[in-house]
């Protein structure tokens, strides 16, 4: 645990990406920026972001689409699919339970 900020528990990056896409389609760079600015501490490695996007695409949770960015360049936008939305909801509640369970152990109330 050399750099706590950048270590992701397996699968959480995907969860964050899906959550980000709730606001609408976005390209990889925008996703990374959004997660970084919202979390304030997490730094997204490009080396993990794009494979994660590939995985999500492979599972049919996001749908890619090439369109022009606001700067007028071609960019690959990812959009949440209905399956992705369902997956996000399910995973989010599981995550909440997990966090609750972790904190019960790590931060026992006096």
């Amino acid at each position: 645990m050399k750099d706590a900020q950048t270590q992701f528990i397996q699968g959480t990056l995907e969860l964050l990406i899906l959550r980000t896409l709730i606001y609408g389609p976005a390209h990889g760079h925008a996703i990374a920026k959004h997660i970084q600015s919202t979390s304030e501490t997490l730094r997204i490695e490009t080396g993990s972001l794009y494979p994660a996007l590939q995985r999500l695409e492979a599972q049919g949770l996001v749908r890619p689409e090439w369109r022009l960015s606001d700067k007028g360049k071609r960019a690959k936008y990812y959009q949440l699919t209905p399956a992705g939305k369902r997956h996000l909801n399910a995973e989010r509640s599981r995550w909440e339970q997990f966090v609750l369970a972790m904190s019960r152990v790590l931060l026992p109330s006096e």
Binding site: H27, G28, H29, A30, K33, E45, T46, G47, S48, Y50, P51, L53, Q54, R55, E57, A58, Q59, G60, S69, K71, K73, R74, A75, K76, A83
Partner: protein, 875 residues
Amino acid sequence: MRTVNWLLYRLRNLWDRDAREAELDAELQFHIEAEAEERIATGLPAENARQAARRSLGNVTLAKEDAREVWSWGPVERFFQDLRYAVRVLGRQRSFTATAVATIVLIVGGTTAVFTLVYTVLLRPLPYPASGRLVIVRAQDPRGIPGLSYPDVQQLQSELASVEAWGVYRGPGYVSTIDRNSDNPLRVQDMRITPELFPLLGLKVALGRPLTSEDAIDANPDVAVIGHDLWRTRFGGTADVLGKSVELRPGQPLTIVGVAAPGSDVPGNWISAPIVWHPIRGSDRTSSNIRFTVLARLKAGRSVNAANVEIAARPPLTDPNTGARRPADATLLLDHIVGDSQRVLWIFFGAVACVLLIGVANLVSLQLVRNAVRERELAVRAALGASRWRIIRQLLVESLLLGIVGGAGGLFAASTAVGLVTPALPANFPRANQIALDSAIWIFAALVSALVGVTIGVIPAFRSIQTGLIERVNEGVRTATLGYRRARIQRGLIAFETAVALVLFVGASLLINSFGRLMSEDAGMRERDLWVVRGTLPLRYREPADSKFWVSALRYVRELPDVESAALALNDGGPLEGGDIMMGGVLPEGQSGGEGRGFSLSLRYVGGGYFSTLGIPIVAGRPILDSDTADSEGVVVLNRAAAAALWPGEDPLGKRLAGRQKLRVVGIVPDFKLTRLDGEVSLQMYTSMLQQPAAAGSSAIMVRTKPGAQAMADRMKAVLMNLEKDILRPEVLTMAQVRWQLLAAERFRTAVLLVFAGTATFLALIGIFGLVSYTVAQRHREIGLRVALGATYSRLVSLMLRQALVPAVLGIVVGTVGALAGSRLLAAFLFGVPATDAATFSAAISVFFCAAFVAAFVPALRSFRVDPASALRHE
């Protein structure tokens, strides 16, 4: 759903891999630009911003690798990688690939073709319900008439407890003509059956109803079920066929009550005409002279032996005419149909398995050579971290690819071969019409190909990873001499191939020798310029009209130019036709007959001029003459063997045979081979066709022409056709052709075994050739060194020769022992040649050794071409 998505995604990515890569590149490029713009916005100079952006992205290649891993397909990907590599490697080594594929095509094709025969004829159950319990019940008859009469059947039916169902039919082989007065008469099979035959064989009707036991009662209307093909061609395939009639005998119409399902037939039927099924009725049911084929289904759990014990325990069937015993027995229907072909087919299968082994041995040897050349490549791959399993897998994929390609070719070759062989099968070859490539054969071919692929991949692969890495790199770098161990394996393979090939070679030589003796066996007649004109009359001819037909045909033939003489032989009486008519219980006049007494003689009904036309001299007395008519005394001509058996030590001329007609012996002919070329000369008697009523439906005219007569066949055939356009199977044959037909079965098995032996020998010789070529190439430098040090070329050649000839000789020794043991299997098929015939053996071995010597010598000569200077410089 998720799985389906995943699968589709990956499948798609397998195909548009390049598009995918480009997309990922573009995406990452966009990321960098976006990052750079962001930095420019904070005031950084454009160039620095771009560099910083690229740095922030980290290791792009790694990111791409990771992303790619998502859409790639692990083991499958790697398999395809191996496959692509294998295709490239094999594509580059064209001569190796061609040799290997050709060998696999040969061995897979050969084994599959023979397996097709073995499977369809011997292994596949007959297409009847519970066919494993179907038996045929037969009785031996001193007169040689097979089958049981209906009274016999009724006796057995009431007494055999182990049988649960019976089915009786007359035929196959009984034909009739329908619509005989129309322009378009049609030959059909007159199939008289018991109604139980349909359920016994699982035959169904497509229309109407099957025959019932009511139909078999004489008082009820005469009805028939017609074959599906007849319905389609003659009755337009419409339902109003029911109630129409079909007339097998003039004036005796049968009302059609049903149409049999397509393909309905009795077992072992070799006639292809449409069938009219109708009940056995009337005198057929009471006569003891009309014989039927009797099928029975045993109760579950009862064996054929149990049925035979039961049959043996009851009083034997007897012939009411003669009182002779007719021992009956039951045989499994499949065994009955397959008969003698069983052993032949298994011999074929053994032979083709030998070819398979030799081919695989050759391929293994070839692979060893190839891997030796690739040792460095393999060593480098291993050094770069490829696991042993990875290397083996790659070699395996290569050899499996060869197996698959060769196997597909082999399957194609097999279907072609089966298509070619099936029509060439001897007539009456069992189940020939059922021979087809079906799923079991596909599976067999796939298994053989896979097995070949794995074997030729695994053995050399393990062999080449056995040697240590270091050794291999070293050996690969500079090899002065052949790796000793590998050469040992190859020499072993050569010995093995030689031994197996020699066994087949000797077997084929024995069969060829035997066939040659049969073809040149002197039958005792002058066969040059001797012709047989034969045919079968349609059933509407009834005696004696049919013999009148032949008499007038004979008259026309005698009038043809270039015909020296001609004579009639009624009832398939031509020589060397394979079939025989036997007369039992023949005794001299004055001796009383009784059960089991008297002699069985081959009987022929001949006309005047028979012996002179055949070129058989009369030893004593006179031949049968045209003047021996119904009005004169009954006469008979015997051959010497018959005369000696009936009147030992006496002059038989003028003596008479016992019996109603008291035939007087008027002539003696020498012993000659009338029926078959193998076996002993039978006891023979010849009677005048004008005195003895004979069924002449199928008869022959023997014709002797002047030497060098032209176009005789067409003219003689025209005589028959002009007299009767519907004559069946009209044939005009020279005696050589008659022999050729008679020996169809021998010819077939000799040809097949010859092909296998030839292939095996060829493959073994290629193996020897390959080993020596390889040794010469591999020991290039050693040879150069030896020459430089003063070795003579003859020493070199003998050194190279020894490589292959020592194992070949070992193989010949082992093969000779194997052939001595194995040729016994052939003994039953040999004529005039003992199974261990020393002459055949020594000839075969010498030829084989010479061929092996040449195969080794030609490549060994190449060591002459080694230039010591260049060979050493190469080092």
